[in-house]
C-alpha cells in the first residue's frame, strides 16, 4: 500500500530487465523517491566510479504518495552520480511521467551498465522492452515524445527523454518528461546519454492502493483545504514562481550580470506582470497556468512567443505554446546575463525543454562566458562571431540553441561554468559550488541560502533547504546553521514522499505524516519523517565523502565571500560562511572536517 513493492531493474549492458520486490526494510527507513533511491545507489555502486562510466547507476524513483490523490502527487526523482559535480545528484521532476511509472507497477526503475547501441525503454505494465533508438537518436526531446507515442500507437504513453545535449554529454543536460517538466540539475541527462539510453516511454494501468482509504482521504481533503486557503499557494497559482523576481529585486538578492550586481534594472519587463501584459499587437506572453499530475497548485506557466520576435520570425515551428518562464528561468536568462527581452527569455526556455538542459546552469555559465568576453578573454573568434556582451538577447537565444545542439561555442558552454572558466584561466568567475551553478538568490543578501548552497549535497541548490524566512528577517549568519540543518532534514523527507516541495507553503511535516500514515503500513509521525530526512542527508554526505569530496568543497566563490553586495538591503555585506559552516557541522553531529561522527551514524542507523 502506498508503495507498489516492486522495482524494475534494467541492465543495459546485458540488455536484460528483471522485476524484484522492493526492499521493505529500506522503504521503512528511507521512505521513497530521493531517500530510497539514495539507499539503493549507495548499496549498488562505488561512489568513486566515473559518473559517465557504465559503473554509474541511474535511478528513477517514485514515492509512496506518487500517483495518489494527495495534492502534487506527480513527483519522481532521478538519482545518480552527477557528472557536473562528481557528487550524488538528485533531480526532482513533476509532470505526469512519475505517476505513470508507478501505475505500471514500479516504485523504482534502476538502470545499470551501458548499452552498446542507442536504445530506449518501452514499458507497459509488466511488459518491458529495450528497443533500438536509431530513429530518435540525434533528435530533440519534443520529437522523441511525439515519435514514440505515434510509433507505439499509444497517445497515453508518458515519456522521459534526453536531447542531443544529453547524448553528447553536456554536463548540465537534464531529463525532460511531458515536454516541459524536467529532472533538471547536475547533469542527470548526460548520465542517461552515457548509457546510450534515449528515452523511457511508459504506460501503466495498475493503480495505486492505500492502507486506509477513509483515513487517507480525510487527510488528503484536510491538506488540500490548507493549500486552497494559503496565500503563498494563491500567489503560486496566479503568478507562478516568478513572483519571486520582484521580491528579490526589491530585496537586492537578485544575481545580476554574473553576480557583479544584486539588482537588475529590467525586472519589470520579465516579471509576472510583464508575462500577463497585452501588447499593442494583441500578444500576451502568458497563455495559462498548468498543473503537474495531481497538483492543486498549478504553478506551471504555459506561454508563447510573439510571432514577430526575432527568435522565431522565420521559424514557424516555434509558433506554439509551451512551458513559460518560472523564477529560475527568468533569473537565468534574465538578470544574470543582463537580458530583459521576455520573448528571448521564453525562447531560451523552449530551447532548454526541446534540447534537454538545465536552465540555471546554462544561464549562469553563459553569464560567466559573458564576463570573460567583456574582459576580452573570449573574443568573437571563440564565440562563433556572436558578441557575448551582457544584455545581448540574441546571443542568449543563439547560445541556448547551440548548446542544445552541441554546436560551435555551445560545446564549450556545455562544460558548465567551472570547467569553462578554468579552461580560460579564470576559475574565480564560475558562480558555482562543487561545479554546480547558483540559483537566483544572492548569498550576500540571503545568508542562510549561502550556507545551504555551500552544504547542499548536489552542489549549489536552492531546493535542498529552506531558510527563506530567517534570511529575510536577519541578514547575518546568526542562527542560520540550525535553520539550515533542520530544513535540510525536512526537505529531504518531503523529497522522499512523492509530493512537491511547494506544498510546504501550507504544510509542515505533520501534514505529510498524516497522508503517509493513511497510505502506508506502519505508523508515520512527524518525528519519524524528520529522522528519515536526517538519515537521507547523512547518507548523501557519506556518498560524497566516499566519492572523494571533502569539507573544502563546502564553500562559496570568493565574489560572495569577499566582494560586498553593491546595492540593496545587503549593501556592503558579504556572506558569513566562515561563521556559519563550523556551527553547521557541529549542529549536524559532524567533525570539524565535515565528516559524520560514529555517534551520528549509529544514531541514524547508518
Amino acid at each position: 500500500m502506498g508503495w507498489q513493492r516492486q522495482i524494475l531493474r534494467v541492465n543495459l549492458t546485458e540488455g536484460t530487465s528483471t522485476v524484484e520486490p522492493l526492499n521493505m526494510d529500506w522503504a521503512n527507513d528511507y521512505l521513497g523517491e530521493r531517500g530510497l533511491a539514495t539507499k539503493y545507489l549507495w548499496e549498488m555502486m562505488d561512489p568513486k566510479a566515473d559518473a559517465m562510466s557504465p559503473e554509474n547507476v541511474l535511478i528513477f524513483a517514485t514515492g509512496p504518495l506518487t500517483g495518489t490523490m494527495a495534492s502534487t502527487s506527480g513527483r519522481y526523482a532521478v538519482v545518480t552520480k552527477g557528472p557536473l559535480t562528481n557528487a550524488i545528484a538528485c533531480s526532482n521532476s513533476g509532470g505526469k511521467f512519475g505517476a505513470e511509472l508507478k501505475y505500471a507497477g514500479y516504485d523504482l526503475l534502476i538502470l545499470e551498465g551501458r548499452s552498446d547501441k542507442p536504445v530506449y525503454l518501452h514499458i507497459v505494465d509488466d511488459e518491458v522492452q529495450i528497443l533500438p533508438a536509431d530513429d530518435i537518436w540525434g533528435t530533440t526531446v519534443w520529437h522523441t515524445e511525439e515519435y514514440l507515442k505515434a510509433h507505439h500507437q499509444n497517445p497515453l504513453l508518458k515519456v522521459a527523454s534526453i536531447g542531443v545535449s544529453g547524448e553528447k554529454g553536456v554536463l548540465f543536460a537534464c531529463v525532460v518528461n511531458d515536454l516541459h517538466r524536467a529532472a533538471g540539475r547536475s547533469g542527470v541527462g548526460a548520465v542517461m546519454g552515457s548509457k546510450n539510453l534515449k528515452a523511457i516511454a511508459v504506460h501503466g494501468t495498475k493503480g495505486v492502493a492505500v492502507k486506509d482509504p477513509k483515513a487517507f482521504m480525510k487527510a488528503v481533503n484536510h491538506t488540500k483545504k490548507l493549500l486552497e486557503d494559503n496565500e503563498g499557494r494563491q500567489d503560486l497559482t496566479e503568478n507562478g514562481t516568478n513572483s519571486m523576481i520582484d521580491m528579490m529585486q526589491e530585496f537586492g538578492g537578485l544575481p545580476t550580470r554574473n553576480f557583479n550586481e544584486v539588482q537588475f534594472e529590467g525586472t519589470e519587463n520579465i516579471n509576472p506582470a510583464a508575462m500577463k501584459k497585452v501588447h499593442a499587437n494583441g500578444h500576451r506572453n502568458l497563455l495559462t497556468n498548468k498543473a503537474c499530475f495531481g497538483c492543486t497548485i498549478a504553478c506551471g506557466r504555459i506561454a508563447h512567443i510573439d510571432k514577430d520576435h526575432f527568435s522565431i520570425v522565420n521559424r514557424p515551428q516555434y509558433r506554439h505554446a509551451s512551458g513559460g518562464l518560472e523564477y529560475e528561468t527568468a533569473y537565468a536568462f534574465g538578470p544574470v546575463v543582463g537580458v530583459d527581452d521576455i520573448d528571448a527569455l521564453t525562447f531560451a526556455g523552449y530551447m532548454m525543454n526541446e534540447h534537454g538542459m538545465d536552465p540555471i546552469s546554462f544561464g549562469a555559465t553563459l553569464a560567466a562566458a559573458m564576463e570573460l568576453y567583456e574582459m576580452g578573454v573570449l573574443t568573437e573568434k571563440d564565440t562563433d562571431g556572436v558578441p557575448l556582451n551582457f544584455g545581448n538577447a540574441e546571443a542568449l537565444t543563439i547560445m541556448a540553441e547551440k548548446t542544445g545542439k552541441f554546436e560551435g561555442f555551445g560545446q564549450q558552454l556545455g562544460l558548465g561554468s567551472k570547467r569553462l572558466c578554468e579552461k580560460y584561466g579564470h576559475p574565480e568567475l564560475s558562480m558555482s559550488v562543487k561545479g554546480q551553478e547558483f540559483a537566483g538568490y544572492d548569498s550576500r543578501a540571503l545568508q542562510g541560502m549561502g550556507l545551504g548552497y555551500a552544504t547542499s549535497n548536489r552542489g549549489a541548490c536552492h531546493l535542498k533547504h529552506d531558510t527563506f524566512a530567517e534570511d529575510m528577517e536577519d541578514q547575518t549568519g546568526a542562527g542560520k546553521a540550525v535553520a539550515c540543518k533542520s530544513s535540510q532534514d525536512r526537505v529531504s523527507a518531503v523529497d522522499s514522499t512523492g509530493l512537491c516541495l511547494f506544498t510546504t507553503a501550507a504544510w509542515g511535516l505533520e501534514e505529510f505524516a498524516m497522508q503517509i500514515d493513511g497510505a502506508c503500513e506502519g505508523e508515520w509521525t512527524e518525528a519519524r519523517l524528520l529522522e528519515i530526512g536526517e538519515r537521507v542527508w547523512n547518507l548523501e554526505r557519506r556518498f560524497n565523502l566516499a566519492a572523494g569530496l571533502t569539507a573544502a568543497d563546502d564553500t562559496l566563490p570568493k565574489r560572495l565571500l569577499e566582494v560586498p553586495a553593491p546595492s540593496g538591503t545587503a549593501k556592503g555585506k558579504v556572506n558569513q560562511l566562515d561563521i556559519m559552516l563550523p556551527q553547521y557541522y557541529q549542529e549536524r553531529g559532524w567533525t570539524p572536517d565535515g565528516v559524520p561522527t560514529n555517534e551520528t551514524l549509529s544514531r541514524l542507523r547508518l
Binding site: 505515434a150 500507437q153 496566479e238 500577463k276 497563455l287 497556468n289
Partner: protein, 421 residues
C-alpha cells in the same frame, strides 16, 4: 391498431417496446419460432465460454417483461404472408390478422455444398440450441475444426479457445475476417491466433468430410486431411425470406426497405438482419447484420408503424470483435473511396493497427486493432461527417490523434486566455 412482429430478436423486441411507448393502446404480438425467451445471438459465445448462464443471453430480464408491457409473445413459425387480406399464416395452422406488419426474421446459417456436410458431428453456432450442442461436444482437449473465419467464426473462435479445445480454423479466403479487415489486419489477427496455439489455414477449402467411429476426417483442397471430433460450421448466413414467396414483398439478398423501413408493400416493414436498407455511407440498399442496426431499424420501423413518419439516414456498417483478447473494429467505408486519402499506423509486432479513410477532410471509414479507448468517436466522426480541416494533416501523420481531432472539431474549446488571470 394491431401490430404483428415476426421475429423475437433484438429488432423485433425493440420495435415492440417502441410501439408500446408510442402507441399505448395498440395490440402488439411478437411471433418467434424458437422455443426460448427472446435472446441475443451476440451473447452466445459468452455462454459457450461459460462466462454466463443461459439467462445471461436473454434480451430482457425479469420474467414478466413482455406481460408488463402487454406485448403478446407467440411461439410459432410464419409460413406465409397474405397482404391482400392482411394476415400471416402460421405453422400451427392458425393465422393472425394485422394492421401493420414488421418482418424481423433475421437470418439462418448456410453450409457449403460439400459432401458430408450433413454428418451429425457438424454443428452451426447460431441458435441457443446450437450453443447447447457445442457445449455438449466441445470438451477440453477435443479436436475441433472451425469452418469459416468471418465475423461469426471469429466470435466462436474465442469461445472455443476458452473451452481449451485443440482448434483448427479453416477459411477459404486469403485472410481471416475477409469482409471486416484488410490484409494487414487479417494477417495480424491470424498471427495472433497462431501465437496462442490456434492452427489457422487460410486460402484453404474443405472438399469433403467423412466419419468413422465418431471421428471425422476433413479433406482439404491441397490434398491433405485433418481429423476432428467436432466441426463447427460458420461459413455464412442468409436472410430468412423464403416464407415471403408469393407475398409481393420485394426482395434481393434480403427484404428491400426504403428510408421509412417500409417494404414494397404498404403497411409491411422490415428490420434487422433480414432487411436490406439504406446504407449511411453509400446510400445503396445493404444488409448490415449487426446489433446497432437491428436496434435502430427496430426503433425507426416502429415509429413509422405507429404513424410517426421518421426518416432513417441509413445504417453505418461497423463491427467490433474480440479475438483471443485482440480487439478489432471496423467502421463504414474502411476500404476507402476513389480519390480519398488514407492515414495508417501499423505495428505488426505490437499487434496494433489503425487505418483511417478520408473523403476530402471527412473520415468515411476506419479499421482498428488493439484500440479500445474512445473508439466510438470514429463512429461519431463518420456519422456526422465532421470536416477535419487542418486536423486531417495531423491525422495523416498520426491517426491515433483521432480523439484529439474529434474533441477539437466537435466540442469546441474556450480560449485559454479567458482564464481569470
Amino acid at each position: 391498431m394491431k401490430h404483428i412482429i415476426i421475429g423475437a430478436g433484438p429488432a423485433g423486441v425493440i420495435a415492440a417496446e417502441t410501439l408500446r411507448r408510442t402507441d399505448p393502446a395498440a395490440e402488439i404480438t411478437i411471433i418467434g419460432s424458437e422455443p426460448e425467451a427472446p435472446y441475443s445471438r451476440m451473447a452466445l459465445p459468452y455462454l459457450l465460454a461459460e462466462d454466463i448462464a443461459e439467462e445471461g443471453t436473454h434480451l430482457r430480464h425479469g420474467t414478466d417483461h413482455f406481460d408488463d408491457l402487454n406485448i403478446k409473445v407467440l411461439q410459432d413459425r410464419v409460413t406465409a404472408v397474405k397482404p391482400a387480406n392482411k394476415t400471416v399464416e402460421l405453422a400451427s395452422g392458425a393465422s393472425e390478422q394485422y394492421d401493420r406488419l414488421l418482418i424481423a426474421t433475421g437470418s439462418h446459417t448456410t453450409r457449403p455444398p460439400i459432401p458430408g456436410m450433413d454428418l451429425p458431428g457438424i454443428v452451426n453456432c447460431w441458435t441457443l440450441a446450437d450453443g447447447r450442442a457445442i457445449a455438449d461436444k466441445a470438451a477440453a482437449g477435443s479436436r475441433v475444426v472451425l469452418m469459416g473465419a468471418g465475423f461469426i467464426g471469429c466470435i466462436v473462435l474465442e469461445a472455443l479457445a476458452a473451452r481449451k479445445v485443440q482448434l483448427t480454423v479453416v477459411e477459404m479466403a486469403d485472410r481471416m475476417l475477409p469482409r471486416m479487415m484488410d490484409e494487414t489486419g487479417g494477417d495480424m489477427i491470424k498471427r495472433w491466433c497462431e501465437n496462442q496455439g490456434v492452427k489457422v489455414l487460410t486460402s484453404t477449402k474443405v472438399t469433403g468430410i467423412k466419419e468413422k467411429d465418431g471421428a471425422m476426417t476433413l479433406s482439404l483442397g491441397d490434398g491433405s486431411a485433418i481429423e476432428a471430433d467436432l466441426v463447427v460450421c460458420a461459413t455464412g448466413v442468409q436472410p430468412n425470406i423464403d416464407f415471403l414467396a408469393g407475398s409481393g414483398v420485394a426482395t434481393d439478398m434480403g427484404i428491400l426497405v426504403d428510408h421509412n423501413l417500409q417494404t414494397s408493400v404498404a403497411g409491411i416493414y422490415a428490420a434487422g438482419d433480414v432487411a436490406q436498407g439504406p446504407d449511411f455511407s453509400t446510400g445503396k440498399q445493404e444488409i448490415h447484420a449487426i446489433q446497432p442496426t437491428a436496434s435502430e431499424h427496430g426503433r425507426i420501423a416502429a415509429l413509422n408503424m405507429a404513424g410517426q413518419p421518421t426518416n432513417f439516414k441509413g445504417s453505418l456498417s461497423m463491427n467490433v470483435l474480440n479475438t483471443l483478447e485482440l480487439i478489432s473494429s471496423s467502421f463504414g467505408l474502411w476500404m476507402g473511396v476513389p480519390g480519398g486519402e488514407r492515414a495508417e499506423a501499423v505495428d505488426k509486432d505490437g499487434f496494433k493497427y489503425l487505418r483511417l479513410e478520408f473523403d476530402g477532410d471527412v473520415v468515411v471509414g476506419a479499421l482498428a486493432l488493439g484500440l479500445t479507448q474512445h473508439v466510438g468517436v470514429i463512429r461519431g466522426l463518420v456519422q456526422t461527417k465532421v470536416k477535419l480541416g487542418d486536423w486531417k494533416d495531423k491525422l495523416l501523420q498520426d491517426p491515433h490523434l483521432v480523439m484529439d481531432a474529434y474533441l477539437e472539431r466537435t466540442q469546441g474549446i474556450a480560449s485559454p486566455a479567458s482564464r481569470p488571470f
